[in-house]
Symmetry: C2
Subunit: 463 residues, 2 copies
């Protein structure tokens, strides 16, 4: 078995066993997705009953194909899978994706063990069974049977649930976030979460790694992979509750394990546990677009006093600190606020705040050595014009490139309505995450702080 997944993710030749002319069949969709892919490679449909499918010459068996095969996708009834897998072994196929289901997830452990026995003494790497496959957006290859086109970007996603994996693609698209690779891992008879984390740790296209897991096969290896990884690893671990664990058992046939142990182990390994998929993306956005926070002291600029309080509450609940302003910062802000308004942290720049007030307050916080991260928040207060708010943030993001002391994360919060979508677009190109709730903003800032801690720890090890 090779640790390297290079040919798995960038195969030069791919065969689809169970390829079909019937558009309702998975073997049809899998072949179609390969054909739609930007990425060019040799594709061989395998089906003993057909001469050609979708214009491609059809082969009866994997062993009939001339030359090497880097990747085989298998979509045939479960009972036939062992025979096909043996063919692959005989052909020296490098990688296999078993899409077919009907194994341990429905209690059919014997059949799954048969697969394990076949691959035991081979170099073949196997994903599945019971998986959607993968989509390699970095090169534009769709080796899955499901619909959905992720944008190219730098978040690698690993999902034990196929359906949820696709849901994640759509969340990513909706959030204007790009994906490097998305992989369904299913029953994990060979390729496991730790293999994928190791691969993504060294993948130049990946900056942040996100996982949805229900159970891991080898806890120690999983935690070690997170520990080894030099990139942020976000984990949604489902099956926290008793009934959740029961549901897990019948979903992928795996035991959920003690939840507190997972939480502690993930934290200990330097990973970040997310409440759910939405939070995974909230944090991924922050980690992808912003520098880490090298401390937990947060400054807040807001045009709504109430919003400032809610952000303060949410930050403190996450262990972040909203320190009082230094005398220097106080003076800078006092100059631009209306008479009688006393600067504080959160800095209330008042409902009618214009570009200049937002800008001055944000700059003062970025320059302040007692502040590690900045939240700029706006509430549609009748007078608040989004362009004053986003303009100031964009200016600071641009200035950040010029000033060393500005290298702190900036997150944005907007409380309002449909105009929020335009703000997302406004801030997208600058990589500034914007959230519509104080809780989500605080949790995203927490992830930046945890990333700062992880980096400092890694640095210490090296020193």
């Amino acid at each position: 078995m090779t640790k390297n997944l290079e040919t798995f993710f960038k195969p030069k030749t791919i065969a689809v066993v169970g390829a079909s002319k019937d558009s309702r069949k998975i073997g049809h969709s899998a072949l179609k997705n390969l054909l739609i892919s930007d990425y060019q490679c040799k594709i061989y449909p395998i089906n003993p009953k057909e001469e050609s499918i979708l214009g491609l010459k059809c082969y009866k068996k994997v062993t009939d194909v001339e030359g090497n095969i880097d990747l085989v996708l298998i979509s045939v009834p479960a009972a036939i899978v062992p025979r096909i897998l043996k063919d692959c072994k005989e052909k020296n196929v490098k990688n296999v994706i078993i899409i077919s289901s009907g194994f341990s997830e429905i209690g059919n452990h014997d059949l799954e063990n048969e697969l394990k026995t076949i691959i035991k003494d081979s170099k073949m790497r196997v994903l599945g069974p019971n998986v959607m496959g993968y989509k390699n957006a970095s090169i534009g290859l769709d080796a899955s049977f499901v619909y959905g086109n992720p944008r190219k970007g730098s978040i690698a996603l690993i999902s034990q649930s196929g359906a949820l994996g696709i849901g994640m693609i759509y969340i990513a698209n909706n959030e204007y976030m790009g994906v490097s690779k998305i992989v369904g891992v299913g029953n994990k008879i060979d390729i496991d979460d730790d293999d994928l984390i190791d691969y993504f740790a060294n993948d130049p296209e990946t900056k942040v790694i996100g996982l949805y897991i229900e159970a891991v096969k080898d806890g120690r290896e999983f935690m070690n992979a997170i520990k080894r990884c030099n990139k942020p690893v976000l984990v949604v671990k489902a099956g926290r509750s008793t009934a959740g664990a029961r549901a897990t058992a019948s979903h992928t046939g795996s035991m959920a394990g003690s939840d507190n142990i997972y939480s502690a182990a993930i934290k200990q390994a330097g990973g970040i546990r997310c409440r759910d998929i939405v939070e995974l993306f909230d944090m991924a956005k922050a980690l992808n677009g912003q520098p880490p926070a090298l401390g937990n002291r947060i400054g807040i600029v807001t045009n709504g006093g109430g919003l400032g309080i809610m952000l303060t509450d949410a930050c403190e609940e996450q262990g972040l600190v909203i320190p009082k302003l230094s005398t220097k910062t106080f003076k800078k802000i006092d100059e631009i606020l209306p008479n009688l308004i006393v600067p504080n942290n959160p800095i209330d720049v008042i409902a009618d705040a214009d570009f200049y007030r937002y800008e001055t307050a944000t700059r003062a916080l970025l320059e302040d050595r007692n502040i590690d991260g900045v939240i700029v928040a706006s509430v549609h207060g009748g007078y608040a014009r989004p362009e004053e708010f986003t303009g100031a943030i964009l200016k600071m993001i641009r200035e950040r490139k010029l000033h060393e002391e500005f290298k702190k994360p900036i997150l944005a919060t907007w409380v309002g309505g449909r105009e929020y979508e335009d703000l997302v677009l406004d801030l997208k190109s600058a990589g500034v995450p914007i959230y519509s709730s104080s809780w989500r903003t605080a949790r995203a800032m927490l992830s930046l702080y945890l990333e700062g801690l992880r980096i400092k720890k890694d640095q210490k090890k090296k020193d």
Copy 2:
């Protein structure tokens, strides 16, 4: 002082003191908003320096106006407010809104006390100072100075923060939710949260009451008003953390009070405390459109096993229970699921679920006496078509009208992307709330369960 706020919310004559020709002035916006209103009444601009403003004859003083004045809006510098208030008292004005700020919120307690002394022995009801005013969407009257048009509907909103109040209007619009009234309460020298809760309890246009508060003046009266209220009361109480309390003090000059006491007291009174504004709307949507849950036993239908687990986790964390299926329900569902798939709760109808599978599973849960509420969830699994999912929910909502045993809440969850907005529209007309996260769905279901408890308690008192 009269307890009745009838003329306050439905005035026949309104004067604006500080009305201005200058479009940058608050007195201009307030007058303009009144003129834009659908609601027709007599409007008097008051400004000693002008002959007419926006086409209306201008008066020098409130006392110059002939006939009664039901409502006066005051927008003049703080120092002049006492003199204007005395004029109002002399004129026997029924209600006053003091928009002007510059009182206790900036430490100017003496000036605020002067206002209190003036109104002490009068029947005049006073809102403010330091408020946006109110918008009465039920009749189409905008007695505020801020921009923003709420849709007419049945949620009454009370906000101690003006800016946040407007933010709420936009959230409501964005969520396709209607508002009955929205009121800013500011420094609360007279009209207080409890007065407004009492009014909305008897307001036929209001079904759900939502409050954003930083501090209450009279805790006992506030809790009693919630206890008296025969409608769900949702409370966002900010200033939970130490720094949040500090920020509260400088925002509206009030003390936040012990947070745990607030939580306990709100719960004791039968109110529901929300994490933030977004959650307030999540719960308001559920309470407005769905019957309460008369127990905490929840059934889940999902096309994604992982989503089912996350929903289960989230529900159990909220004290809801996901019971095992009864034999009867098991059999009904077993019939429609593919071979080898064993029914469970959550019921996994599998990624390719069609209308019929969703419908059968949802109906079985509604008919089951061991289930008090149903969550129907879908994840965009490549094969999942929104119309199968929403169609089944809409059918059940329609059947609910015909069957007594169906009178249980149904909430929907969708994990996916931009198509979510179309689903919101699909389900809107039927009043079915749909959420994009398992956590939010569970919290909304919790609010329906708490409402069920409140109703049962009220019933017991009557019996």
